[in-house]
Symmetry: C2
Subunit: 273 residues, 2 copies
């Protein structure tokens, strides 16, 4: 998918919502556990109920790897289901990978070619030659961890070197990498003030924003400081939507939660136009 | 496996060699491709030929994920084969994972419980709460990326903040995390001088050292500066051993390469006792 196609989808749906498909078998409705592939059935129901409200789905690979080969089959079925039924949706493999060059190429192929995700999240610690292999894929996107939404973000990401926090150095440095036009960045919503600084460095890039809702970030605040002329934001919500209910009405309740966020987003978009 | 058991194995075998099982189907002997599971058959032959010369095997998960569900099955069979036939071997899942707390727990379970590796490599960028979930597993080990052996290591890992390079801050900070006694560190051999500094911070920890051989690091130099009273080093070699030949003699040639390194290690161990 091109960035332009993502932007068009946002404009058409009046939404920049990304739904995190982090399926934990201990949290999903009990009646699904009797089915052959509860993870896929859960995802399918969530997707059927929400695809018109969101522009992106983001399965976190940890939740699938935790169930071994069966989990990987569920992931494969989930991405295939999205690609076949909702090809307009921007898909994100939240894998946070990163390794030396030829090894990163292996990961990139696995997620961007074989599983056919539109994008993958990547950790920056190993630098340029660990990220560039991901950037080489045309019309695919690499979402680099910049400032994450967890407590530990302050352990290293905000360390100041040469007058600059590490996350800013990561973003600035990444702009010089080959095919850097394929980069997006993870920026946690829990630190809305940082968006002002980040937009000075990457005014045009898309930012994937976790931490709205369950982790306490404010949608209004993030949009005020982080939005650009193409919106430029993908706001992720996982637990707040997919675990809104664990009864047989789970998909309907997920839709209601997604709809609340989507309507809030539509209002924000209206107010800036 | 306890650290003490690893140390005993090193003393008994007079080796601190780790063999990287990074299986690329385009590089293995052609005749294996006719078998049902070429990756496992390749690994099995390498393990059979080298298990008395090394103390550790390290499959890099990227090489298995690249082959989808079949690849994951090969990884499962490989770790099971090692655990069943050579339980004394210290196994490393080179996965370089790291995510927010509950998600890291998912990864930790996948590698340390379900696949039953002795250890897993983890990226530090997301800080304390992304690593501690891995440290919670008893007699399991978390190998934190500190200073990697690739070119990109100099992009961020050596940035100086408060008078200290990032990789040193990572190592120092990690010492305060819960169950930090379960930590080891990745330190590339290509920068032997750095070992002196690192040993001031973690005199007793084990260091996993890639980059000897193919990537140009010197074994002698690393041992001189990085060894401690328990040896404290696991020297990894992947391509130099497993791809020594791509003919039908590949396992024998791999043994010969492993033996060269093992004999060099035995000499070094003799010289310090």
């Amino acid at each position: 998918m091109t960035t332009q196609q993502l932007i068009q989808q946002i404009q058409q749906k009046k939404s920049f919502l990304c739904i995190g498909l982090d399926v934990d078998l201990t949290k999903i409705p009990q009646h699904l556990l009797e089915l052959e592939d509860p993870i896929f059935e859960f995802n399918k129901a969530i997707i059927d109920a929400t695809h018109d409200l969101c522009v992106s789905y983001k399965p976190n690979t940890a939740f699938y790897e935790a169930y071994g080969i069966k989990g990987l089959q569920s992931l494969q079925k989930t991405i295939d289901y999205i690609n076949q039924n909702h090809p307009e949706i921007f898909t994100i493999a939240d894998a946070k990978r990163g390794d030396i060059g030829n090894t990163s190429t292996m990961y990139a192929k696995a997620f961007l070619e074989d599983l056919n995700f539109d994008s993958v999240t990547v950790a920056p610690y190993m630098g340029k030659d660990s990220v560039e292999p991901f950037l080489a894929f045309k019309n695919k996107h690499t979402i680099l961890l910049a400032l994450t939404s967890n407590e530990g973000a302050f352990d290293f990401q905000t360390k100041v070197s040469e007058g600059k926090e590490l996350y800013k150095t990561v973003i600035e440095t990444s702009k010089s990498w080959k095919n850097s036009e394929n980069l997006m960045y993870v920026v946690g919503a829990t630190k809305a003030d940082y968006f002002t600084e980040i937009r000075k460095i990457v005014p045009d890039s898309f930012l994937l924003v976790p931490g709205v809702g369950a982790q306490g970030g404010s949608l209004q605040e993030v949009c005020k400081l982080g939005m650009n002329k193409n919106v430029g934001l993908l706001i992720n919500s996982s637990r707040g939507i997919i675990y809104a209910s664990n009864g047989i009405d789970f998909a309907q309740k997920a839709r209601e939660e997604a709809l609340k966020l989507k309507l809030e987003m539509a209002l924000i978009l209206k107010s800036i136009n």
